[in-house]
Symmetry: C2
């Protein structure tokens, strides 16, 4: 196993987020200042709870994409700062609600807000951040941005409900899975990217190109997220990983292992996804089946396809630091191990 | 007791919602059509869950106020229909989240959505309706309306979190209580009314007058809601009433009974609000203490004050059916028994 992993980590050749982080560093400072300022409230529990998740880090991929998109469009102004913060607030609100929905206890290696502050406060602070996001957009004043992000928010909620409906249904198809992640994850990536072109007041073609980049990148990103949940050495499984398995979520590694499996293997998956076989031993067996059918590798291959489409979507933009960084970010999305 | 109650029910003199219902009936049909159309989704669970609450009725006070406000401003168009639906969607989203937050099992005499469909779906469908509300506003295209309702939504969430923080704190003051209901309830009443003047493109003075009407009406409405929770014959308590008591919510009847109570009575309230004395017998004792100190009556008197301010706020508008109906709605808010 170790011998296979090393090439992906090879520092000289592995794609990384370093270029896009460097590209957007100055703007991201401005965005972080907006985030910190606008998560405040006279009700002390609100910044305490919001700060718990926001200070916990995360890659801030979505606001970073708004910033990178604006730079790709050679935008010189500052409108993207408030709007990137709005994008991150929408994302943070959905994370808070997701943790309540899933009953999660760990996110980004940290105890989740719902465990520390309780479900009620977590739901309500999510609502607050969501409202704040719209206040930021209103301050910017673009109806086009408001249209893009209100639509994306409705689609995200639909995707989350759809995922809930598919949960514990072993017959979920790859097509339905792609529809779910297209809504729950890729819609916000697409909107975040498109807004970069909107603030730059580029034409419809540039807006659409960035939207397609974001949508495909979002799908690749989620595919790899779902692969990673089954992509650890067996002895490490169960330590914060395997959540999807225990929750009976039909992600692509499981869908493929089930589709490619023997009748006996399918019997195991039916039990497991229904919630009747979710012990650590069951998880180890699930990982073994997924490995037997190369389902993690196949999931990453699917991700590679969407990342390639993302990269081609922005082919018409001028070459330069922004373009190179966004291409590498898409390559990173496929290769990443975290 | 019965002799005191009868005059309030006297059909010849009691204020009612009949005039405002008649005034807005035609417009409300249009609003209901928007609500039914826009709660649809390709994900079947969404209209099923949203419809459970929306079909359950309720007074639709908030959209009705948008409609009445527009009529008071002699508005002839149809913009208010989508915006009133947006107001109702925001309200419905907060009700869904409230029921999750409070762990309620009954609303409007019906099993709550969180019990029928579970907390996860209820949280997510609330998010969907909230997003839909903003989509409706974007379609209307008024940044002013978007500003008013995004601000109101943030204030509502702050009020809900503040209420959560005050829960089980027997020392909550009347001032803090008024701040909480001003945020969690009156902010949306105020916004709903103000939008009536916005679509009519009246001036700032008319907008402010309607906002003040809505804010004071909302406070009166919530005060009476909180009074009603303790305003039933003792033998009927516990059948869907007394929820605030069991949840340890410091509403004005309790705040006043505690403030006016003996040291022994305060001891009881400390135990009860902390959650250590919430049996049916304790609830009956709480009602007896509230009656001893006329705390329900005093709460209604406070409501009468805010209703009077609401009525005076719209004194400068032309007399007519809309004005008379809105005055009577404010009077009804104080007198209502349901």
């Amino acid at each position: 196993m170790t011998a296979q992993v090393i090439p992906l980590h090879a520092p000289s050749s592995a794609p990384s987020l370093a270029p896009i982080l460097a590209l957007t560093a100055a703007d991201m400072n401005a965005v972080n200042a907006v985030i910190l300022e606008r998560m405040q409230s006279e009700i002390p529990l609100i910044p305490a709870l919001a700060g718990h998740l926001i200070a916990g880090g995360g890659k801030r991929m979505r606001p970073m994409l708004t910033l990178a998109g604006a730079l790709l469009c050679d935008y010189q102004g500052t409108r993207q700062h408030k709007l990137a913060a709005a994008v991150e607030f929408i994302h943070t609100a959905t994370l808070l609600h997701d943790d309540v929905v899933d009953g999660s206890d760990l996110r980004r290696g940290k105890t989740t807000a719902n465990i520390v502050f309780g479900n009620p406060a977590t739901v309500l602070v999510g609502d607050f951040l969501f409202s704040r996001a719209f206040e930021l957009m209103v301050e910017d004043g673009s109806l086009k941005v408001l249209r893009i992000l209100s639509r994306a928010s409705a689609v995200i909620a639909e995707g989350e409900v759809d995922q809930l409906t598919a949960q514990r249904h072993v017959e979920t198809s790859e097509e339905r899975y792609l529809a779910i992640i297209g809504a729950k994850t890729a819609a916000l990536f697409a909107a975040a990217c498109r807004i970069g072109a909107v603030v730059a007041e580029k034409g419809e073609a540039e807006e659409r190109a960035l939207e397609v980049y974001g949508r495909n990148l979002g799908i690749a990103f989620q595919l790899v997220d779902d692969a990673i949940d089954y992509d650890s050495p067996a002895e490490e499984m169960g330590k914060g990983r395997g959540d999807d398995f225990r929750d009976g979520k039909m992600t692509l590694p499981v869908i493929l292992a089930y589709a490619r499996g023997s009748e006996e293997e399918r019997g195991f998956w039916r039990e497991a996804i229904a919630g009747f076989a979710i012990s650590d031993a069951d998880l180890a067996h699930a990982v073994a089946l997924i490995n037997r059918h190369d389902a993690v590798q196949a999931t990453r291959e699917r991700a590679r396809h969407f990342a390639a489409r993302a990269i081609d979507a922005i082919a018409a933009f001028p070459r330069g630091a922004a373009h190179a960084a966004m291409v590498e970010a898409a390559e990173f999305a496929v290769m990443r191990r975290y």
